[in-house]
Amino acid sequence: MFEALFKYSRADYARSELVFSGDWPVWMPYVLAIAAIIGITTLLYYRRGNARWYQLAAIGSLQLGMVALVVWVLLQPTLATDRLREGENTIALVLDSSASMSYGAPESRFQNALQSLSGALQDDAPNLSVRHYELGTSARSVESFVASAPTAEGTSVATSLTGILEEARFSPLAAVVLSSDGADTSGGISSDEMAEIAAFGVPVHTIGVGREVIPEDIELADVTIPDKALPGSTVSARVTVLHDAPASTNVKVYDGDELLQLIPLELASEAGTTTAWIDVELAEAGPHQLNFSVDAVSGESEFRNNTRSTLVNVANQEYRILYFEGEPRWEYKFMRRAVGGDEDISLATLLRVSPNKFYRQGIANPEQLQDGFPASRDELFAYDALIIGSVEAASLSGEQQEIIRDFVSERGGSLLMLAGPNGLGNGGWGQSLIADVLPARLPPTSIDSFHRKKAGVSLTSQGVSNQMLRFDSDTDLNNQAWRELPEIADYQLTGNLKPAAVTLLNAETDVGQIPLLIGQPFGNGNAYILATGGTWRWQMSLPVEDQKHETFWRQLLRALVATAPENVSLVADGGSDSGTIALRAEFRDEAFRPVDDIGVTTIASHENGESFSVLMQPGDEPGVFSGEIEPTISGTWFFEAVAERNGEPVAVSRSSILHDSGQSEFYGFRKNPGLLQRLSEATGGRYFETDDLSALPDLLRYSSSGITETEYRSVWDAPIVFLLLLMLKAGEWLLRRRWSSI
């Protein structure tokens, strides 16, 4: 209808500019308009007869309208439209050839994408030359698309498009047409990448293929697990399953071929994700390849996204903890006893038995701690965690307190403060030099915050999911175990918590609920407060066979040391879903001062025996050396960074990582139209579904990019003009007849 009246389509009008092609001077239309107004007004005035003013106004308006229309025609209105010049422009057709495009039956996404691109250009296209690209982790130029199975091991839309646009920077690229499922394995398109793509000024039209909702598929979307652990420790893995429909499945964990754990999992929600915690006990030292899997659901055809593998390095080393206690007490004895069987924890204790005597236990040699609490960084930094019991802050010098603060903030050690008659607020720690480190603003010494009264213990919402507070892998059973614990012997008020503090346990006291176990990060390390010295009642009140007291302390102490960095470290990153493995080695001396006067070489060894060395380059930070390898094969890679000084090895750090390239295409493979829509909007293109591509050919024909020419098309002869003329004259005639007075 619009086109019948106005001669051209709405889209034509939208993409065009209206110009007047008549040769009249610019002032002529205004003169004509003024002359018409004066002439018509004068004529009507002299021939007004008995006509009333509104009748004269109506007749005059119609006459003026008719004159205006005639002037409009005489001006020769024309549509000026930019369009691609014949034979001088290029269109880039980009076909997503990543492995996720093979999904779908009976026709795969790849086949749909191929069809959609073949229909993008119609026969009346202005003789465009076409370039073909296959998209994966980067773009690959091809002569033409071949209907073979897509095999690219990753998808990076941003990298691919940037490559295409860079290549066409000096050629007339009119537009890019990308047909893809939008499943980008590189993490999507960042705002910087999007801006860089848009800066080329080439519209990117996108065609989305595939389905957003796949009810018959479940996906093990994520497994989060610490990358290092202590031998014999239990680590908790957070398993996230993506699903579009309710279902039942099992989550299994294998250490190599050995089944370690199996838990049933109900996927209850209609769509979304379901998360579960699964505990895995790792007994032996060394790298453990843990294979997680979820059982397939009915009708599922893509099983590769039901599994994930990760590597956990179980450290074969002893962690050192120093426990400084100001008075003999039961908590000291029972805590030492609880962790005594843990071969990975070396607990050295310094107990002030009397004002004139310190009693040492767990020391490695007679010299250890013989002068009391460490007075140097070197001595204290040799420990991974520090526990301070019921002892006054004043018993340590200001320098020692500063060392403790640096121990947490710089060395990255953990600090645990225990309650006691002379601990926490009573001990003046709130006014000490380490007050900033602590997660609470401790009460002043003028307030006796220590109460030798029994209290119950309860998990907080944050504590429920914390591994160090797990007696049972089942959340309900764990909560029940905590509820059934005997009361602790005492508690201490901690004062107000700091903003970053997290409360993991509460004490149920006769004055209400108070924080019992709280922690916060500070610098590179962590600080905790356990506001009781009375967990020993758990050991004395429960049967001999019960291990809750031992479990609590072992897990708590392991959590303290687990986050403490070693003075020599090697981190391998990017093992999965990435083409490279980045290596970062950090070397510090015993006092954790950066060491720079060394050369570092990393030997990379694959599990099959292949090995080579990488010369590490000094990084931006002191003591840091970095390198990179591009592994050619999947599997476990072992790294050994050797620091040498004057040709002699001075330190060695080891690490390992599971490199599993090509697997990422099978995860997150549901269609992601959002990414494609954002891309098109940012570049001035348009997003299409495969079932409605009718507007695409016109968009290409009139693309604003490339080499264009202006097409002029007259619209003065549009049917609407003559129709209006007729209506104006007919209207005047009808009014004159009705009123018979003019």
Binding site: E327, P328, R329, K333, S354, K357, R452, A489, M540, V544
Partner: protein
């Protein structure tokens, strides 16, 4: 002292013992008068005295032998607690407590003291409770029993507690003798009757023995002070005639046992 010479004193000692017992008695006949006000404020350490049933040896005969667990009460714990408070950094409750093996509260006090255990009798239930208490981490100090008969009576109940754990001499190098004080020179600590009789032994308990029972990890659970009376030395610390060196040693034994219990 030569063996023959010691035997020559036995009749004299028996006579003196009877005379002293008649004069002072071994245990209060009635509920004793508490000499000092008791502060109820709890401490990390509170002296707990084990109240037990008497065996046939205790139930028969002369005197109030069915309450031998009260021997030296309350001065022994009162004096000893103050000594601990003065000589260590342990926070000590001023008053002691008396608990039976079947009191549930016994688990709140990981150090208990039993005196005159030659007169004790633990039935199976009580023995089981003590066994449980010790294996969970508790510590038992037994004291003031002498001679063959009392040893046998002690062992009879102790074997119900631990049928399969031997009673052994505590080695000289054991931490129990060094954790605070180095107790390398041990002597027999006698009862107060020593100030009258001049003899340090009772019955046929001429030689003091420091024995013990250990758990599977080598922790001393039961400190057995046989043929000595550490409790009397605590009780009579303010007695002018009681030898100071013996009182001091008794304190040191008690403190070492306590600190050992709080560290092992």
């Amino acid at each position: 002292m030569p063996r023959k010479a010691r035997k020559a004193y036995i009749p004299l000692a028996v006579i003196l013992s009877l005379a002293m017992a008649a004069a002072f008695g071994q245990a209060p006949a009635e509920a004793p008068v508490v000499k000092r006000p008791v502060r109820e404020a709890p401490g990390e350490f509170q002296f707990v005295r084990l109240a037990y049933s008497a065996n046939s040896y205790g139930r028969g005969g002369w005197g109030r032998r069915d309450q031998m667990w009260r021997t030296d009460w309350p001065d022994a714990e009162h004096h000893f607690s103050r000594g601990v408070d003065r000589l260590t950094r342990i926070e000590v409750a001023e008053s002691g407590r008396i608990l039976t093996p079947l009191d549930d509260e016994i688990y709140d006090y990981p150090w208990i003291y039993a005196v005159e255990v030659g007169y004790w009798y633990l039935n199976d239930q009580e023995a089981g409770r003590i066994r449980d208490y010790l294996l969970r981490g508790g510590f038992l100090m037994v004291d003031d029993f002498h001679g063959t008969w009392e040893w046998a009576a002690f062992v009879e109940s102790m074997e119900r507690v631990f049928p399969d754990r031997p009673i052994v001499d505590i080695p000289e190098g054991d931490e129990a003798f060094h954790v605070h004080y180095d107790l390398d020179h041990k002597i027999q600590i006698p009862s107060r009757m020593f100030t009258y009789s001049g003899v340090t032994w009772e019955k046929d308990g001429y030689t003091p023995h420091w024995r013990g029972i250990y758990d599977d990890d080598g922790r001393l659970m039961v400190a057995i002070n046989f043929n000595m009376d550490i409790g009397d030395a605590w009780e009579h610390a303010d007695w002018p005639d009681y030898p100071e060196n013996m009182t001091a040693l008794a304190y040191r034994f008690g403190i070492n046992y306590l600190i050992y219990a709080m560290t092992h």
